[in-house]
């Protein structure tokens, strides 16, 4: 009731202002107005109560009161914000198409009836808008194309319904929905909207930061973001971000979506209200606006798009910001909405969402997006309890900021985009209007849900939650599950027929619980119990910090935030500290914001993802990487599990599962893993996916690695291409890209006869090796390939590659496969002697030589080289260097420099007084063909001179004019010069230019 009182105040202010005034005054008026219209009489009451009531109705009313109180303290700001949002909504409605006005009317009526509540209604409106925005955002996120279409479609459908789209958005506000629902019910009892709405919000929640940040946000920013951005002023984003990160990574995320919607709403509002607000937030809005612009295009023209566009237009610049801001609002709303009710709603919505997801086909795009939302909402719910108050506060604060921003944005946006749908504000408004209509529907749904939920189901829910009394995180996860289950049940139509008393309880995965952890608040009971004030106190301090951090936040915002922040206690959010940082960072960078969420999300998010996965998200899949897909799959499956038996569901699934080729195979696995951590699940699914290729291992998930019949899994290549580039496998090999043995032989021949450089050959050989390995071919061909590669690598001094081949060859030879055993034994010896200098290895290698091996020329040579090296006999070494068989020279090449230097040092110490250069050149192998060709001898001499000079030798010319090494002088001046071609990584053989020179 406190809220009401507050609301009344706000309303009073708002009322005078009326919509217009609202615009002007974001906060109070907007709120009041919105509230008034939105919540007529009873509805209004319900709205204000919304959160409270919803809670009450569903859970325990008391919480509501507390929540309201919380709101009250901050209410004005909130209200203002809300108001602004509302105003936008209202404005949008008015501006909006025909439907919009109607909606407004309804809203107005609502708001009027519930003056105090009106503020809330305004909030709701704002939320709805936000939700709408969210939707649009969501749409972009999933797959832009699909989602957009879906949205459009829905939008079209909705628009006619008017309520639908809006409702969708409203539903998005799910939390609102409870409140909304009431109104919604009144206006339109669209089943979908509520569900849709719920879904959206939930999705956001579930999506939590991770999803949102990564997917939705990015999307929003880029494509949809415009819409979103349009909705939310940049400022709001920042604010939201701050709040979000600080508060709950998850909730924040959800909020973000919500906020987005709000922002959208606000944008529309801004059109009207912006002027007032704009001052504070202009910059952000500007930013947002640009962003917003792009989004519209992605969004289809359909009814939804227009509305969205409008929002984007307004919000465009602030798309991101809007998102954030909006999300925050949504959170607030969500939070505000009784957690339980929300849950129910969300659950319902989820069900609907799931349906949507399943429906994805045409609507799927939308649905998919929505599903995400649903998930989010679930999370929210879990977190909501504590969060709500925060959110609300934040929202209010945020809203205020957003409002200003939005206002500015709106103005900007309008200027920019408005024209089309907007009629500036009008367009968005219509959307809103529609939303509002939907809201009623939603509300009705929500009402229905809370009220409609069978007692047995409630008992079931209680039981489920009762198991996690002391584990908030798990409870949150549990909530998500519950939502899924209930939505499914609803979708199945078994909600009322199912025997909930005998329904087995689900187990909450730890991972989920972890994700949820942040939401200490998660537990609904706690929410109810915990007064809003507490939350405030906890949150406020944090909020302040956040606010400070936020560069954009206007003074007003800061003030408001400050209050919030102060209220928020760091302690509560200790878990969020990490997120805080992220949030901060995010705030700083509007672009990065998304990232921040993702970051915050990622650590937390990994878990969150799981949560999402468990519940919700399919949307992610499109944009996401494999792992994301897996997650989404898991989520999908978890959500879908319950539905498995439903024929409709099956059909939908089938159609859906086509999107995930592996999905079907994974299902069992996924289910199996659901209870476990996401990490393992991902791994598992990955492996499973790999196994799937073999098409014989659906159940492999349960198989120990050792038990796997690798022979059956071995790929049989079908590729007939002789040439193939090497690409490191990151997944199971595809038989169509793997060459069978006969083709590989041709490929080897091709490489051997190729005139191209080593880099090309190395690449080709590596791909051949890969194909061989993948097909587990171990025969003479394998040996040949490795030998060929080893030789090529030696020729260019690629020791790393050579060592790989050598170690493989040793294994192959030890398996009795024929090859150039002696040749490579010699290489191995040389390598150990010259490059590893490991006595133990050398002894082992030598003791392994068979008597026959010792008679082999190459091995003999290698042993002689070893002896020369150990005794430092440079004369022998260079003689052996010249007479080296096979490619022994190549390996010795790499040791020549060292040996020459040793010899020079030795000679300078033991020779007196001088040593002729010609002798040195001859001894140290400088004159390659000295005996045959005088010219080369000369060149060898010059080379030797250069070398000696480079190493600091002291040279003199004697009476006969012959160059001499002054041994005594040189003994103290010789040094090992830094290799001229030294490279940063210390291995000159890796120097690209040199390498290219050698390999071409």
């Amino acid at each position: 009731m406190m809220n009401q009182g507050v609301n009344a105040q706000t309303v009073a202010a708002a009322d005078p202002n009326s919509l217009e005034s609202r615009y002007a005054i974001n906060a109070s008026q907007g709120q009041a107005q919105s509230y008034l219209p939105s919540a007529p009489g009873s509805e209004a009451a319900s709205w204000t109560v919304h959160k409270v009531e919803g809670y009450l109705s569903q859970d325990g009313v008391p919480a509501n009161a507390s929540y309201q109180h919380v709101q009250q303290p901050e209410p004005h700001t909130q209200n203002v914000q809300d108001g602004s949002y509302v105003a936008p909504l209202s404005s949008s409605s008015s501006t909006g198409t025909a439907s919009a006005p109607q909606d407004y009317n309804s809203y107005t009526s609502y708001s009027n009836t519930t003056d105090p509540y009106s503020a809330y209604s305004g909030y709701y409106n704002g939320y709805q808008q936000q939700t709408n925005n969210q939707y649009s955002q969501q749409q972009p996120n999933p797959s832009y194309s699909q989602p957009v279409e879906a949205y459009q479609n829905t939008g079209a459908a909705y628009q006619p319904n008017s309520s639908f789209q809006n409702t969708g958005s409203y539903a998005g506000t799910a939390s609102y929905s409870t409140t909304y629902y009431n109104p919604g019910n009144y206006q339109t009892s669209g089943g979908y909207p509520s569900s849709g709405y719920n879904n959206q919000p939930t999705a956001w929640n579930n999506g939590s930061y991770a999803n949102y940040t990564s997917y939705q946000y990015p999307n929003y920013t880029s494509d949809t973001s415009s819409a979103y951005s349009s909705v939310s002023a940049p400022a709001t984003y920042q604010q939201q971000y701050k709040q979000w990160p600080e508060y709950y990574s998850q909730t924040e995320v959800t909020c973000a979506p919500g906020t987005e919607h709000l922002s959208a709403a606000s944008n529309s509002n801004h059109g009207s209200s912006l002027p007032t607000v704009s001052g504070g937030y202009p910059t952000p809005t500007n930013q947002i606006q640009p962003q917003s612009l792009p989004p519209p295009p992605p969004l289809p023209p359909p009814s939804l798009t227009p509305t969205w566009r409008c929002q984007p237009g307004g919000a465009a610049s602030g798309a991101h910001d809007n998102y954030w801001n909006q999300p925050a609002p949504s959170f607030q709303t969500h939070l505000a909405a009784p957690t339980q009710p929300i849950y129910q709603n969300s659950l319902d919505s989820k069900t609907s969402y799931e349906n949507f997801q399943e429906l994805k086909t045409a609507p799927q795009g939308l649905n998919s997006q929505y599903p995400v939302v649903h998930q989010v909402s679930q999370n929210y719910q879990s977190t909501l309890p504590t969060v709500p108050s925060f959110d609300a506060r934040r929202v209010s604060k945020l809203q205020i900021p957003t409002n200003p921003r939005i206002a500015s944005n709106a103005a900007l946006g309008i200027a920019k985009t408005e024209k089309d749908s907007y009629a500036a504000n009008s367009a968005p408004r219509p959307a809103y209007i529609s939303v509002s209509v939907q809201k009623p529907n939603d509300n009705s749904n929500s009402f229905l849900q809370p009220t409609m939920l069978p007692k047995s189901l409630r008992g079931y829910v209680e039981r489920a939650f009762g198991r996690y009394k002391d584990d908030d995180a798990k409870r949150a996860a549990c909530e998500a599950y519950m939502k899924d289950i209930i939505t499914e049940a609803r979708a199945d139509g078994t909600l009322y027929t199912r025997d909930w008393d005998s329904e087995p309880l689900f187990t909450v995965p730890d991972s989920l619980s972890i994700n949820i952890q942040t939401p200490t608040h998660a537990s609904i009971p706690n929410y109810n119990k915990s007064p809003v004030r507490r939350s405030k106190s906890r949150w406020e301090p944090l909020a302040e910090e956040k606010m400070l951090e936020k560069p954009v936040s206007a003074s007003n915002e800061i003030g408001k935030y400050g209050s919030w922040d102060r209220k928020l206690s760091l302690q509560t959010f200790s878990g969020y500290s990490a997120t805080k940082d992220n949030s901060l960072s995010s705030f700083r960078f509007s672009g990065p914001q998304q990232r921040t969420p993702s970051k915050s999300a990622q650590r937390p998010m990994k878990r969150q993802r799981i949560v999402n996965g468990t519940g919700l998200t399919n949307n992610d899949d499109d944009a996401s990487s494999d792992s994301d897909k897996e997650q989404s799959l898991t989520a999908y499956y978890s959500g879908a599990m319950a539905l498995a038996n439903n024929p409709e569901e099956k059909k939908r699934r089938e159609s859906r599962s086509k999107r995930f080729d592996r999905g079907q195979g994974h299902r069992p696995d996924i289910n199996y893993f659901k209870p476990k951590n996401a990490g393992p699940a991902n791994l598992y699914t990955r492996r499973a996916s790999a196994l799937m290729l073999s098409k014989s291992f659906d159940d492999s998930a349960n198989q120990a690695v050792e038990d796997i019949d690798w022979d059956a899994l071995t790929v049989k290549g079908t590729c007939q291409e002789i040439e193939k580039r090497f690409l490191r496998l990151t997944s199971a090999p595809d038989p169509s890209t793997v060459r069978p043995e006969d083709v590989l032989e041709k490929a080897l021949l091709m490489v051997q006869n190729s005139q191209k450089n080593y880099l090309y050959k190395c690449d080709q050989l590596k791909s051949i090796r890969q194909d061989i390995t993948v097909q587990r071919i171990r025969n003479q061909l394998t040996v040949k390939v490795y030998e060929t590669h080893a030789r090529l690598a030696m020729e260019v001094g690629d020791l790393a590659e050579y060592n790989q081949c050598q170690s493989q060859l040793q294994i192959l030879y030890s398996e009795g496969i024929e090859g150039c055993l002696m040749e490579f034994a010699a290489y191995n010896l040389l390598c150990v002697i010259l490059h590893s200098n490991n006595k133990k290895d050398l002894l082992t290698s030598m003791s392994r030589l068979t008597p026959e091996a010792k008679e082999d020329d190459a091995v003999k040579h290698a042993l002689a080289v070893r002896a020369a090296v150990t005794s430092g006999n440079y004369v022998t070494f260079f003689r052996l260097y010249k007479s080296a068989p096979n490619l022994n020279t190549c390996l010795m090449d790499l040791y020549v420099e060292k040996m020459r230097y040793k010899a020079a040092v030795c000679m300078s110490k033991s020779y007196r007084p001088t040593v002729p250069i010609s002798y040195i050149a001859q001894i140290l192998g400088f004159s390659n063909a000295a005996d045959e060709n005088g010219e080369t001898e000369l060149s060898g001499l010059d080379e030797c001179l250069e070398w000696l000079k480079a190493h600091g030798a002291s040279l003199i010319t004697d009476n006969t004019g012959e160059m001499q090494l002054d041994a005594k002088a040189s003994s103290s001046t010789l040094y090992m010069p830094e290799p001229e071609d030294a490279v940063a990584h210390g291995d000159s053989s890796l120097a690209v230019n040199d390498f290219l020179a050698r390999t071409t």
């Binding site: 006595k839 003791s847 150990t870 005794s871 004369v875 040092v905 033991s910 020779y911 007196r912 001088t914």
Partner: protein, 413 residues
């Protein structure tokens, strides 16, 4: 196997259990140790093994009484191990013994005093020996031998139990030595490093406190490691410690020490008496010592070739091969002495041709360049004082101590 009645079997098993329980109750480490020594083939254990094979349900006996059942986790797998050992199934015997040992370690961890160290020694020893035999069995069946590796990690665990402060730490060196044996056998000597580090750097280990036998073993193995690293002074010090502390009656052990100590001593210029080599049956070094004395490069090379496999396996081949320079030095010194007898005034000038001729006489074909290189290396490594005049191809020796003795220092590298 002689017929064994059930009653007799029952009696033997109960007897063993009683002795086991008594040994623990009276903290009689020696008795307990005897009860564990599977591979000792002691009559009592063999008869117990027979009894176990007759009386298959020994576990029931263990569980029957509270007195025995508390040791069930140790004794039950031990019985199985003994049974398998008796039947020649060494792989299973090892597996069961490791299980029993594991349970015993858990108990041992809880005993404050080190009374059961003797038993632990036996267990560490048995683990290693059984693992070696199990690996042999695995290898003969064409399977990959991996038990010794497992024994290594198990003993590492035992080492962890002992390495703390307290009376048990004196047992750490024994386990370390068992680990050394395993690592040397497996050829993974680099794994020794971590154990050595904890022994040599941990203050809780006062090296002199360890039992003498463990110290000798430890020094032997660490000395061998130094030989591998060609760190001759350290190897000399460690192996000499082992030699001087080794019980004179353990001739096999002394021989093992000498096997590494002699090459080390040779490379720092100290030659053993012929008597020593013969006393300890180290005749493979005879020719090498002789070659060093005579400067007979051919003899050295043939001696190396003759025992190449053996030297390679023991890891001294590379050490012995390096003696070649000392042989050259000796040869040059001989030439120098002969020249001095002929014409003292020109003795310090050794013509390269003379050296080549001398080598030729030894049936070693080397041309001037190669010999010149050898001479340069000798001067460079300070085995010879003087210089080489390239123009005249003459080695000009210092008039003072042209062939310095190593005197315990290794040849400069």
């Amino acid at each position: 196997m002689a017929y064994l009645s059930m009653g007799e079997s029952h009696r033997r098993i109960t007897d063993y259990l009683n002795r086991f329980a008594d040994a623990i109750n009276y903290q009689d480490g020696d008795s307990l140790a005897r009860l564990f020594s599977v591979s000792s083939d002691s009559p009592s254990l063999l008869s117990l093994a027979d009894a176990l094979n007759v009386f298959q349900d020994a576990n029931r006996l263990i569980k029957q009484s509270e007195k025995f059942s508390q040791f069930g986790e140790v004794v039950a797998p031990f019985f199985r191990s003994l049974q398998c050992y008796r039947l020649g199934n060494l792989v299973d015997a090892y597996g069961a013994f490791e299980k029993a040992s594991n349970a015993f370690i858990q108990e041992f961890r809880n005993w404050e005093s080190g009374w059961a160290l003797e038993a632990l020694y036996v267990i560490a020893y048995e683990i290693r020996v059984l693992a070696e035999r199990a690996d042999r069995e695995l290898a003969s069946n064409g399977k990959s031998p991996e038990k010794l590796k497992g024994a290594g990690s198990f003993l590492m665990k035992v080492f962890g139990v002992l390495a703390g402060k307290g009376p048990k730490r004196v047992g750490a060196l024994y386990v370390t030595c068992q680990l050394f044996k395993i690592y040397f056998k497996l050829g993974t000597v680099n794994l020794c490093r971590s154990v050595i580090r904890s022994i040599e750097t941990a203050r809780i280990f006062d090296f002199e406190e360890f039992p003498i036998r463990d110290k000798v073993t430890y020094m032997y193995y660490t000395g061998r490691l130094e030989v591998l690293n060609e760190n001759f002074p350290a190897a000399d010090q460690k192996l000499s410690y082992a030699l001087t502390h080794c019980c004179l009656s353990k001739e096999a052990n002394i021989r093992m020490i000498l096997k590494y100590l002699i090459p080390v001593k040779l490379s720092i210029g100290i030659l053993p008496k012929k008597q020593l080599l013969e006393n300890y049956d180290l005749v493979e070094y005879n020719n090498i010592v002789e070659a060093l004395k005579r400067g007979d490069l051919r003899l050295l090379r043939s001696a190396l070739q003759e025992n190449e496999d053996q030297f390679l396996r023991s890891g001294v081949y590379l050490v012995l091969e390096k003696l070649e320079l000392q042989v050259y030095q000796r040869l040059l010194k001989k030439i120098y002495i002969i020249q001095k007898q002929k014409d003292p005034s020109k003795a310090h000038q050794v013509k390269l041709e003379v050296i080549v001729k001398a080598l030729k006489w030894l049936e070693i074909e080397m041309d001037l360049d190669e010999v010149e290189c050898i001479v340069a290396i000798l001067i460079y490594k300070n085995l010879m004082k003087g210089y080489f005049a390239h123009k005249s191809k003459v080695v000009v020796l210092s008039k003072q101590d042209p062939f310095p003795k190593l005197n315990g220092k290794p040849v400069a590298s």
